[in-house]
C-alpha cells in the first residue's frame, strides 16, 4: 500500500547553482560521467543532499546538461522543513523527480513515515511512499 505525502518543503528551484563538495571526484573523459566519492554534500538553494557516493550522468548529446544524479551508500535529503533518509536515491533533473529506495524514513514537522520507496516530485512538492508504510504521528499533533 502507498501513502501520498505532502512535500511542501522540498520544492526546490532547479535553476539555482548546485554546489558539490566531496573527498574525490573522477570524471570519465569518454562519456563524461562524474563520480563523487567520500561524504559528498550537494547543495542547491535550501535543498541539501548528503551521500557517500554521487554519480552525475550527463545527456549524451549535450555534455553540459545534467541528466541524472544517482546517490548511494546512505542518502539524506533535507530541506527547510523536511528530511528524508534512504539507502539510494536517483534524481532525474529533467522532470524534477527524486526516487529514494531502501528503508526510507521521512520526517515531517513532527510526524515520521517509513517505507521502502519514496518518489518525490520537486516541482509540485508532492511525494508518494510505497512498500510497508508505517506512520508515526506524535500525540501532540503537528506542532
Amino acid at each position: 500500500q502507498g501513502a501520498t505525502v505532502a512535500f511542501g518543503g522540498i520544492k526546490s528551484d532547479t535553476s539555482q547553482p548546485v554546489e558539490v563538495t566531496a573527498d574525490q571526484l573522477a570524471v570519465n573523459q569518454t562519456d563524461g560521467t562524474a563520480t563523487f566519492t567520500g561524504n559528498v554534500v550537494v547543495i542547491q538553494g535550501d535543498l541539501r543532499l548528503g551521500a557517500t557516493t554521487v554519480r552525475v550522468e550527463y545527456a549524451k548529446d549535450d555534455r553540459t546538461k545534467v541528466e541524472r544524479i544517482v546517490a548511494s551508500g546512505g542518502v539524506t535529503l533535507a530541506s527547510a522543513a523536511e528530511a528524508a533518509e534512504a539507502k539510494d536515491a536517483v534524481y532525474t533533473v529533467a522532470n524534477g523527480q527524486v526516487v529514494m529506495t531502501g528503508d526510507v524514513l521521512l520526517t515531517q514537522n513532527g510526524g515520521t513515515i517509513a517505507g521502502q520507496k519514496l518518489s518525490v516530485d520537486l516541482k509540485t512538492g508532492t511525494g508518494q511512499m510505497d512498500g510497508r508504510v508505517r506512520t508515526v504521528i506524535s500525540p501532540k499533533g503537528s506542532q
Binding site: Q16, E19, V20, T21, Q24, A26, V27, Q29, A34, F36
Partner: protein
C-alpha cells in the same frame, strides 16, 4: 687639315672632336663621381651575446616525440633546453609545451613556463604555473605537475582550479590517466577535497 667647306664634312669634322670628349666625360662620371658604398651597414651582425651562447650548451626550439605504452602520441617542445649535468638530471627547458593525442581521440595540451625532463624517471616535471587543456573542454591551472613520458599520466603536485562542462572545480590535487580496469578511456581525478560549483543552464 683645314675646315672643309661643305656642310656635311664640317658636321662630321666637329662630331669627331665632340663625341670622344663626351665619351670621356661619361666614363669619368662612372669612376670619379660614384656613390659612396658604406661597407659598415652591409653585413648584418646578430645581437646575441656570443660569450653567453658559448658559455652553456643549449638547444633552441628542441622537439621530442614518442608513442606511449597505451598508444597515444606524445610530443614535447620547448623554447630553449639546456642539457642536464648527471644522468639523473635530464636537463631543464623553458616554455615547455606537451601534447598527448590518445587513441580514442582525447587530446591533452600542457603548457608550463619551465620544466625538467627526468629521463631515468621517465617523466617531465613542469613548474611555475602549468595550464592543461583537454579536448573534452576542461581547462585546469596548477602550480606544478609531473607528466609521464612513457604513458598518458599527468599528476599535479599542488592545488588545482579547473573549469569545464561540469562547472568550476577546486581540488587539492589532480590526476589524469587511463581508467583502472573496467573503465575504458581516460579519467580525470580530483582528490584531497573537491568543491564544484555548477550553474544549471536555463
Amino acid at each position: 687639315m683645314a675646315i672643309p667647306d661643305n656642310l656635311h664634312s664640317r658636321v662630321v669634322f666637329w662630331l669627331k672632336i665632340l663625341l670622344p670628349i663626351l665619351a670621356l666625360a661619361i666614363l669619368s662620371t662612372l669612376f670619379l663621381f660614384s656613390r659612396r658604398i658604406d661597407t659598415e651597414g652591409a653585413l648584418p651582425y646578430s645581437e646575441v651575446d656570443v660569450t653567453e651562447l658559448a658559455r652553456d650548451q643549449r638547444l633552441t626550439d628542441p622537439q621530442y616525440s614518442t608513442v606511449t605504452d597505451d598508444g597515444s602520441a606524445l610530443s614535447v617542445a620547448a623554447a630553449v633546453a639546456r642539457p642536464g649535468t648527471g644522468d639523473a638530471d635530464g636537463g631543464a627547458a623553458d616554455d615547455l609545451v606537451m601534447r598527448y593525442d590518445t587513441q580514442d581521440g582525447l587530446r591533452i595540451d600542457l603548457e608550463a613556463t619551465s620544466g625538467q625532463i627526468d629521463q631515468t624517471g621517465g617523466q617531465a616535471i613542469l613548474r611555475d604555473g602549468v595550464t592543461i587543456t583537454t579536448s573534452t573542454g576542461y581547462k585546469l591551472t596548477t602550480s606544478g605537475l609531473d607528466a609521464a613520458l612513457d604513458r598518458t599520466k599527468v599528476v599535479s603536485d599542488g592545488a588545482v582550479t579547473a573549469t569545464g562542462p561540469l562547472g568550476r572545480i577546486d581540488a587539492g590535487r589532480m590526476e589524469l590517466r587511463h581508467g583502472d580496469a573496467g573503465i575504458d578511456g581516460y579519467v580525470l581525478i580530483f582528490n584531497d577535497g573537491v568543491k564544484l560549483v555548477y550553474q544549471p543552464v536555463k
